[in-house]
Amino acid sequence: MTNNTDVDLQTDVPNTITPPLWLLAEITYQCPLHCPYCSNPVNMEETFNELSTEHWERVLREAREMGAVQLGFSGGEPLLRKDLEHLVAYARALGFYTNLITSGIGMTEKRIAKLKEAGLDHIQLSFQAANAEVNDLIGNKRHSFEQKLKIAKLVKQYNYPMVLNFCITAQNIHEIEDVMALSEQLNADFVELATVQYYGWAYENRDHLLPTSQQLQEAEAAVNRYRTQQNGKGPTFIFVSPDYYESRPKACMNGWGTTFLTVTPDGSALPCHSAKILPLRFPNVKERSLHDIWHQDFSFNHFRGDSWMPSPCRDCDEKDKDFGGCRCQAYLLTGDMYKTDPVCSKSPDHHLMKGITDKAGTAPSKALQYRKVEKPIPILEVSATS
């Protein structure tokens, strides 16, 4: 069946592997913003060796053949790829519903019109806050708020469905009412009030970003008040509370290798966009077909089904609901990717969560790190010509 000898260790691979319905195409990790909660890998070496246009065409074709229907162009900032319009048109012709997940930086009216022509279905625009001062500070880029406002207007002008995404942290959670008012003013269709989850750069900067329990409760109450006043009008607000304050884990990725497939800029295929941190070897689309990867690869089969599950998941009547939670979270917090997600109150490691959340709002243990600049400065080229 496969050349991968490890596969013999798998005893529980379900007979029917469902097709990946959601393809997240992280076409570049390059980004003009430097948000300290970026979910991209902290290891910036993965920024280089981007897939070619032809590689992406093949990935899109193969994913569509397998039944994928939702496609997210993400990054980094996907607008930095000059072939974005081409890839959108290619994907749309294959029948994908195409989502562009963007910071808006680098968008112009010309491009938004070209993307419409290419068949782009939806634009999700991120904001870092509801005012220029905080927004530009978090992204570490001047005038980015101004640009985002301009792009939000263009998104509506060109009749795209518009989802706004606000990453909520200790820096902006007290302004959540302003966030909702701005969203309504911009005529958003959906608004994700996404309290940051702690992976990638956000994990590094957790001490700075994690809101307190009280801040969280106040924010959620403010959202509920706002919803009541809306009377069925205006944007649909989706409030995402951080796992750290929950007592049951999320059904991460709707179950490992069941629904989601991420392809990273260098062609790594992952069951979720954070999975690269796990001590597993993930396949690359340059070397194998997506079908082969999805159905045969050791890493994709590794957490399918439930025979990998430890106690208390193994005997838990909720194991089909949350699938043991998030493998990355278990690994980051306990050092063991096979453990129950410590978010679960049944986990023997659940006390770790309280240890972290109790410290929210107190002095951070280390300085805040912006997501670093990606490209090495080409000093040699400069000196050669001088």
């Binding site: 039944g67 519903y97 279905d121 469905p161 069925g232 649909t236 989706i238």
Partner: protein, 129 residues
């Protein structure tokens, strides 16, 4: 053919950490403008431009696609929504369905109406003012 209209399955694919049922819950919660029976029967219905309908081979059914999500439609729901094209009223849709499915049960009109009310509440469709 035209029975079981309310059983179209709904299956959301949500990006990142957005809870699987949140979008649907919120759409439902924010709908407070139910139609009184009959009020919209002679208005032109169209699909909400947030949604795109297409046949998905891998799912074996028609689906409604929207930002980062998908709703699977059963055959009856699909037959109705195919006719919600910005030119038909509810009455016209029923007439077309009667013609296409001569063996449809007697209560077809009621089923179609109930489904369209549901679809408007879910914001899948809208009516001309």
């Amino acid at each position: 053919m035209m029975s079981n209209l309310q059983s179209q399955t709904e299956n959301h694919l949500d990006a990142d950490s957005v809870g699987a049922d949140n979008v649907e819950d919120n759409i439902e919660n924010s709908s407070s403008h139910n139609n009184e029976g009959g009020r919209t029967r002679d208005k032109i219905a169209s699909l909400n431009p947030l949604f795109r309908m297409q046949y998905e081979k891998a799912q074996g059914c028609y689906v409604l696609l929207f930002p980062e999500g998908m709703i699977k439609l059963n055959p009856s729901a699909a037959e109705i929504l195919k006719r919600v094209d910005g030119s038909n009223t509810e009455n016209a849709i029923c007439a077309e369905l009667r013609q296409a499915f001569p063996d449809a049960p007697e209560d077809l009109e009621e089923d179609v109406h109930a489904f369209l009310v549901h679809a408007e509440q879910k914001k899948w469709i809208r009516y001309d003012e």
